[in-house]
Symmetry: C2
């Protein structure tokens, strides 16, 4: 496919686009009923997660949201979706730029494009981790899984209404050699960062912030936690609350 | 909903966003199987139309494409979609910035966000038509309808692979008092422009370029032709091939 150079060969979380004197970060994600959310899920939660998961990609780039476009398949509970959209766009400060509503049968699908503004250039990518860097994690792993399993538990919000780490991403971006959000499980995402950076990651699972240590492997494999994974030179102290979870080797 | 001021209150074809000294035009459209394209349609045509219909919104703003993000629901004939996407992005010069693929059951849905760059500011809107302006149409009406009805006819391409009028939009944008693309039928879209401009439109149907004059009302009501509708001061000659189809009144 004819890729824009800003697409970073589709190997990163977002496109990084120079426009005039600014740097935009652009990301697009879709969600489908039965795949990304349960049949019968509260669409207010779905709207929140659709926007928040895209914002997490901006966070990993140290970007701030400019605005949102989305496509919405009409159906039941449209008012709930609108309520969730209103809430997330207000709470996370991402105004709506436009979108499309469509009528269709079958499982509901929704898509969102987030446009953000980089707060620091160069914008971190997955590909910059250097041998002897330290590997850091901001956020805890496993809460979304526990919230998925028990919607009545204290963990429910972690699954249904995740909070993207925008402030943390902005603080880390000027220092990080590589950064990404952990949306598909730490083990998979860390392996992606190591591969993109052409280095090896030595992870210390004992040092990781885990929601349920008795189920550590599941917590490290399950997604949806929207933590930030980043690497820093060994002597750099992260400017946010974070755990050192390993080191980069050759 | 908390709208970005660039959203133009969601009453225009696209958002118009100031970034770094430049003016971006951003639009988002989705298509669903059974609603926007037939079950069994060639997905190469669907990919073309998804991109081309979004580009038509850019054309109506006098904008040039910067790049494309899209969400793609996996299923049958994925290779055909990719082939059509490759073709449209090459032919219409719109590189791919990113996107998402999702797995889901049910009718296929696809969405695209187009980012463009304005070639002229202020960017035309639907809302600027002035009393005594002339109303112009670039493009012909009814070909898409005829192509939909008879896929073996010469009109088929007009329905399946429309060509957005990007060159024409760029030439007209500096002169137009209002402009939009005709995607939902001339009668409906002209009424929208008149309402947005708070004026009345006197249309002369005899002057309109129509694919089948015996079915003029259908040709004026059917969508998908992606013509450009614009208004100019009465003494302004359009810089593109166009038909004068009426005049603006109070």
């Amino acid at each position: 496919l004819p890729l824009h150079e800003a697409a970073r060969n589709l190997e990163d979380d977002a496109a990084v686009l120079q426009v005039g004197g600014e740097t935009l970060v652009v990301t697009h994600d879709a969600m489908a009923e039965g795949t990304h959310f349960r049949v019968g899920a509260d669409l207010a939660d779905v709207a929140w997660k659709l926007v928040a998961s895209n914002l997490s990609d901006l966070a990993a780039k140290g970007a701030r949201p400019v605005g949102l476009l989305l496509s919405y398949m009409l159906g039941d509970a449209d008012a709930r979706f609108l309520e969730g959209l209103h809430r997330v766009s207000t709470a996370l400060d991402v105004p709506i730029l436009g979108g499309d509503t469509i009528a269709a049968s079958g499982p509901r699908t929704f898509a969102a494009t987030l446009i953000g503004r980089a707060t620091h250039v160069p914008v971190p990518s997955r590909a910059g981790a250097q041998t002897s860097d330290a590997i850091w994690l901001c956020g805890r792993l496993g809460d979304a899984m526990l919230g998925f399993e028990d919607p009545d538990s204290d963990h429910a919000a972690a699954f249904l209404r995740p909070i993207p780490l925008l402030d943390e991403g902005e603080l880390v971006a000027p220092l990080a050699t590589a950064m990404m959000d952990v949306s598909d499980g730490l083990l998979l995402d860390a392996s992606r960062m190591a591969a993109a950076s052409n280095v090896g990651f030595a992870l210390e699972t004992g040092a990781m912030p885990i929601a349920d240590r008795a189920r550590i492997h599941e917590c490290l494999s399950w997604g949806d936690d929207y933590a930030l994974l980043f690497t820093l030179p060994a002597d750099t102290v992260p400017p946010v609350a974070a755990h050192r979870i390993g080191s980069v080797g050759p």
